[in-house]
Symmetry: C2
Subunit: 254 residues, 2 copies
């Protein structure tokens, strides 16, 4: 058997998330089918992070085992030929048999895109949360710093989360501003992302972090409130879960 690691990008708009399930097509089921067709054997994928319905990936990492009948270039080319346009295999690499995309991931980076502008742009509606009211990004940055380190993230854990422990470590949390002048349809500097890198994430964790720090940016709470919210260990203390469309699994490091 050969173990293969794939780097994959997808637009999650049309899918019921990563993991195979009865409600509509998923990235996993569509990819397993396409790879099965090119490799002529059943393929079972494991992903570094199980993205939710509507969430995108810039660099998801997945792995599978096969009998190694076709070279890796053929896996990329043939896989992409059988995949829909909104899922692309970026690269393939042979890895040691014990490699596990999920368990061996050292850190994952998520970026959540915000369009801060009086007017939405049609070319970003699938990929960013549009916020019309003014946001104090300094307060957002300050609020994010209270999340860095090892914490019990129960207050930011979505319902139905199967994690064994709510304790996670955030290595970095910050804001990136984009010069969007080269983007079709966007001229003003209104595109930014909230970036969170950590050891692992609970269900809806990034999206409820975003909903909460945006409350700080709107002046609805002070940045220091994040420390208290963490301590209370109750989901009702934190802000709303931000919409799925703005979230990207950005990078997985091993």
């Amino acid at each position: 058997m050969r173990r293969v690691k794939l780097t994959v990008a997808y637009d999650g708009t049309a899918y019921a998330g990563w993991q195979t399930q009865p409600n509509g097509p998923t990235i996993q089921s569509v990819m397993e089918q396409a790879l099965g067709r090119i490799l002529h054997e059943p393929i079972r994928l494991r992903a570094a992070g199980r993205t939710d319905a509507g969430v995108h990936a810039r660099e998801q990492v997945v792995d599978f085992a096969d009998s190694g009948k076709r070279d890796l270039e053929a896996v990329v080319r043939g896989g992409n030929a059988f995949l829909p346009e909104d899922i692309r295999i970026l690269s393939a690499q042979e890895v040691p048999p014990e490699f596990d995309a999920r368990r061996h991931a050292r850190e994952k980076e998520y970026r959540y895109f915000l369009l801060l502008s009086g007017i939405a742009f049609p070319f970003l509606s699938r990929y960013a949360w549009h916020i019309e009211s003014p946001i104090d990004l300094g307060a957002v940055r300050e609020a994010l710093l209270f999340l860095v380190g090892e914490h019990d993230f129960t207050s930011f854990q979505g319902q139905g989360c199967a994690a064994q422990t709510p304790v996670r470590t955030i290595f970095h949390a910050g804001v990136t501003l984009y010069d969007a002048s080269g983007l079709p349809g966007l001229r003003e500097p209104g595109l930014c992302s909230i970036d969170v890198t950590g050891s692992g994430f609970l269900r809806h964790m990034v999206r409820s972090i975003v909903g909460t720090v945006i409350d700080a940016g709107r002046g609805r709470c002070r940045p220091e409130a994040i420390a208290r919210i963490l301590e209370k260990r109750s989901r009702s203390e934190a802000g709303v879960t931000a919409p799925a469309c703005g979230l990207f699994l950005w990078k997985v490091n091993y």
Copy 2:
């Protein structure tokens, strides 16, 4: 009566082009309906350029006359509230009664986006033509220069064009490279656009120009062939009509 000039951006993917017609929804029909609802009177729009099915606009300019019952801020806000997400009014301005968005346009700029990359990116599939094989952009630039000036563009005129004369003036034609490192899903410098500014354009003119200069970039013809193609005044001399998805009406100057 008041005459109003609107600047509008749209993602043309879901529409049968600008102009009202029986085959499916158009930007014009959807916008006239939304503006009619907010202004409580029938609205008839004129556009600077009639974009085809699937073509986008970053800054289309349209005008209409109304009785002036609502202020322009309400037109923008209310219009956008009634419009689908893929059409946005960017601004509104009162203009002299004789203003005509199409006839008074001094120059129009179109940009045609190309993704030159071994692998397509899911976030650009609606907005760029993906070309896998290597392209010599120097040859594309050289070929474009043969189009600058006043020419008979019969060889680049699509079927069913209602223009009175095939003579048009191109003021500028060039290539822009984008630093796409801030774009979700795109890291390598593979995004560029073919930009053409002119007094006016025939049906499918930009897309057949793009199809032809890409032939030069692929080495299928020499850049100088453009001069001969113009002279022959026959559509069959030029290259294919590039796909609609890559084309943006970028800017209209008055």
